[in-house]
């Protein structure tokens, strides 16, 4: 398939006329037609003729010329409705474009659809969607992961050249690992959040999904940077991530915390992460034992801060605007709104919210200390393999525990790259997580690229 090719190969092919972008778009629509409804991958698909017409208007010298992409349905777009996978916004057409979408459009990429997700980002499975439970393309009886499950599956099934997810507590990282693709949670502030329907504003990040770390580098260069519409976007200069890929040193210190490989972690996933570490050592990197006694407290802090913020962010869906009433919130969303409302109530703020903020500060300090000893921290991504559809939806606590390796990174605002690292004996893919200091995306992508140069896990796609 043309869509098995990397972004660089596609762009080079477009330039020397060996590949016709129309063929790539046709191929993407072919995959969408075949699999999207079966797997509940996309919520809304753009009219193909409209896309092909738009292609004709584009300048072929644009950096992402003609590349078809999928956005998580949490991004405001003027072309397609923005539901955030909730019937509350079933008919909502945004009058403005999210900054990430605007930037991609201006770079020549073409939006062809909006991906399924857990409604409002509430979940790690895409089961909490009002548009059908997302199914895993590697095993449609299992969850696809989430909350950005749709965009991740769209990359895995070659419905697009790349996709944009949104990661608050692991929503890019978890489905990247369960779909055998690469996903990047960026440093908080690296990419503008303007136009991203807010879940937990202090942790929401906008990041890319792709087949390789190199693909992510190309997309990140386009979407990163300060934005006058987002007061939390960072002024830091945007490096040429693609050029930096090959400049990454091969003598990095890789920190591994034994606490993070304890109870609750699937043995095969644990072994896989160790194998991954050995591979990095083979490449010349140095493995270092570090201490990160954060697992329990970070999950607790995350599940206070995120519901508190979401209870506030969702207050605007009060039934007066957008045409639908509040009874359309899913059970999971209602749970988080209730919990958050309680935690912010007078008399409870100090007991919960303020304490969670203190834990957050403690986590930042703990990681700072760890980063004095190492350049990158290696963590497993998911403690478990994707459950069967519906198995955990009635067990919210188990779902929360699955975020164990994600929430600390979310709370400290660091970047984290997830890349494919092998397969479980059940045939499903496993991913690992490389966590860096703030604004170390270049380093993480470079390290991922090095690994992907000597391994072939990332080249596999699901046999549908």
């Amino acid at each position: 398939m043309l869509l098995d090719k990397s972004i660089l190969e596609l762009l080079t092919g477009y330039k020397n006329k060996s590949i016709d972008p129309v063929d790539v778009i046709n191929e993407a629509y072919g995959q969408i037609d075949k699999y999207s409804s079966k797997l509940n991958t996309l919520i809304t698909v753009r009219d193909k003729q409209e896309v092909l017409d738009f292609l004709k208007t584009l300048d072929s010298s644009l950096p992402l010329y003609g590349l078809p992409y999928i956005l998580k349905d949490s991004y405001a777009t003027t072309e397609l409705r923005t539901t955030c996978a909730s019937k509350i916004l079933d008919n909502y057409l945004s009058p403005y474009d999210a900054t990430v979408h605007k930037k991609l459009k201006e770079a020549g990429a073409i939006l062809i659809g909006k991906g399924n997700q857990d409604a409002w980002g509430h979940g790690a499975s895409t089961e909490n969607s009002d548009y059908g439970m997302g199914k895993n393309p590697w095993d449609p009886t299992r969850v696809v992961g989430g909350s950005s499950g749709g965009p991740a599956a769209a990359v895995a099934t070659r419905m697009c050249a790349f996709a944009i997810g949104e990661d608050t507590g692991g929503s890019i990282r978890n489905p990247a690992a369960w779909n055998n693709i690469s996903g990047l949670r960026v440093t908080y502030g690296r990419v503008s959040r303007y136009g991203c329907v807010a879940y937990a504003s202090s942790m929401d990040t906008v990041g890319p999904f792709g087949k390789t770390a190199a693909d992510l580098a190309i997309i990140l260069k386009v979407i990163a940077g300060p934005d006058v519409y987002d007061g939390t976007s960072a002024p830091h200069e945007v490096p040429d991530y693609n050029l930096e890929l090959t400049k990454t040193p091969n003598k990095l210190k890789i920190g591994i915390a034994p606490e993070m490989f304890g109870a609750g972690l699937d043995q095969e996933i644990s072994n896989n992460a160790q194998d991954f570490a050995s591979k990095l050592a083979e490449l010349g990197h140095q493995l270092i034992d570090i201490s990160l006694p954060v697992a329990e407290i970070s999950d607790a802090a995350y599940y206070i801060l995120a519901p508190s913020e979401t209870s506030s962010n969702l207050g605007r869906y009060d039934g007066i605007r957008y045409g639908n009433t509040r009874d359309l919130f899913t059970q999971e969303s209602m749970r988080r709104i209730m919990v958050g409302t309680y935690e912010l109530s007078s008399g409870y703020y100090d007991a919960f919210y303020r304490k969670a903020l203190k834990i957050r500060t403690l986590l930042i300090k703990t990681f700072q200390k760890a980063f004095e000893q190492c350049d990158v921290i290696l963590l497993p991504e998911n403690p478990i393999m994707p459950p069967k559809l519906g198995d955990l939806i009635s067990d919210p606590l188990a779902n929360m525990l699955a975020d164990l390796y994600n929430t600390p990174v979310s709370l400290i605002g660091s970047p984290s790259l997830v890349i494919p690292s092998g397969f479980h004996k059940n045939g499903l893919p496993i991913g690992v997580q490389l966590v860096g200091k703030k604004f170390s995306e270049s380093l993480l992508l470079g390290l991922g690229h090095q690994y992907q140069q000597v391994t072939e896990w990332h080249t596999r796609s699901p046999q549908l």
Partner: protein
């Protein structure tokens, strides 16, 4: 039983910055030609929109703090205040909870000092309009006002009387206007007042307070104090304690009506707005703002008086920034003409929006010249009138000074109405 009134005020003032508090929309809700014209995803609270604070509004608030001797916070932040109301599209108002921009401060009145608790910045809500459309009663929302910068000034319970309240509120308004940060148009809601009122016997703060809202004039504020004093006295006289509640002022009947009691007080679930990073206010920034600190009303009056203007004229000039600019320029151009110009301004004899101070002074100069030459022409006319009316002159000299008016009229009549009455009067007195 006699009681002492204790009152603290909460004053909301809409700043007149060019753009709104958290977006680039035009801040001009009162002059918008139609509803919902000045709106965008941010002030409509649309999914995904984010607030970015207006630096000018922050500086204007700090400016008022500097003028009122407040302590300026080194670190400040914005918080979300949650409540449900159709005019609040996000479900929360961005306000400041525990780290306001300005802390403390005071304003002196002739009745004593009113200390300030704080001054903070927030966003205004949209405006509901209850109307009848096609025979159906409907509620419409106008978002032109949504997210307009709103400053809140909170005082300590230092106001002791309706008179003191009036003087304080007027003084505050004059300062805000003099700083050029807000128009304080009370009728349109550009300045809104709330009073916290209780009574004490011994000067200590009692355990209850009554909050009165919907006050849109200084007189009504004073009236509500009078009314509450009466109402609470009667309750206290019976040995009861007035209920802790929110009451609304009704200007038509000049009384207050209960709106909400303590039991259903809202829990606003304040928490720091994660969309807005904390504000670090360093001394360099404050110094820059300090440079904008203009002279305050009292100082302006003192300066005008010492420049030769009467105090009553100075007070009128103070109310109008354009008049103030005019007189300041006159002072520079021709200090000797300041007194006359001041009186002319106060008496609305100068169309100061049309005429420049230079042109005014030029005209004045030629008038004076005309008068000098006129004096020599008037003198014979004055003598003529006096000579023609010897009886009346005798009556005047006997003490019937009211006759002077007749002489003035007669002289002016003889000049065909061209003479200046004041000059004529002076000449007559000289000759009588």
């Amino acid at each position: 039983m006699t009681y002492q009134l204790i009152c603290g005020a909460e004053i909301h003032v809409e700043l007149k910055t060019k753009s709104k508090m958290f977006c680039g929309c035009q801040n001009d809700p009162f002059h918008a030609p139609k509803p919902n014209l000045y709106t965008c995803p941010v002030c409509l609270g649309l999914p995904g929109a984010l607030p970015v604070p207006n630096q000018k509004a922050i500086e204007d608030t700090i400016l008022l703090g500097l003028a009122l001797h407040s302590q300026i916070a080194k670190v400040s932040k914005f918080d979300r205040k949650h409540y449900f109301y159709p005019d609040l599209p996000k479900g929360y108002q961005i306000s400041q909870y525990d780290q306001p921009l300005c802390i403390g401060g005071y304003l002196d009145t002739s009745f004593g000092r009113v200390n300030l608790t704080r001054i903070h910045l927030e966003e205004d809500t949209a405006k509901l309009q209850h109307a009848t459309v096609n025979g159906q009663s409907v509620s419409l929302i106008d978002f032109n006002r949504s997210s307009v910068p709103l400053m809140e000034i909170v005082t300590e319970p230092d106001i002791k009387s309706p008179e003191m309240a009036k003087e304080f509120l007027k003084g505050l308004r004059d300062i805000i206007r003099a700083l050029g940060i807000a128009d304080c148009d009370m009728e349109k809601g550009g300045m809104r007042l709330e009073a916290n009122i209780s009574l004490t016997k011994d000067g200590t703060l009692p355990h209850y307070k009554v909050e009165v809202k919907n006050i849109n004039s200084f007189r009504f504020f004073a009236n509500s104090l009078d009314y509450e004093f009466q109402r609470q006295s009667e309750i206290l006289d019976k040995g009861e304690i007035p209920a802790q509640e929110t009451r609304g002022y009704r200007s038509t009947s000049n009384l207050t009506v209960s709106q909400r009691t303590k039991e259903d007080a809202a829990d606003y679930r304040y928490f720091p707005d994660p969309d807005i990073p904390p504000l670090i206010i360093d001394s360099a920034w404050v110094s820059t703002i300090q440079q904008r600190l203009r002279k305050l009303p009292n100082q302006i009056i003192t300066d005008l008086v010492s420049a030769g203007i009467t105090e009553s004229a100075a007070k009128i000039i103070l109310q109008d920034p354009d008049m103030l600019t005019f007189i300041t320029q006159v002072k520079i151009l021709d200090p000797k003409s300041v007194r006359t110009a001041g009186n002319d301004l106060a008496n609305k004899k100068i169309d100061y929006h049309q005429i420049t101070p230079e042109a005014y002074l030029e005209a004045k100069k030629s008038n004076v010249q005309n008068q000098i030459s006129a004096n020599s022409q008037l003198e014979p006319l004055v003598r003529q009138v006096l000579a023609d009316n010897p009886e009346l002159v005798a009556q005047y000299r006997a003490g019937k000074t009211g006759i002077l008016g007749f002489f003035v009229g007669a002289v002016i009549k003889n000049t065909g109405g061209k003479a200046d009455p004041r000059t004529v009067t002076e000449l007559l007195k000289k000759n009588l």
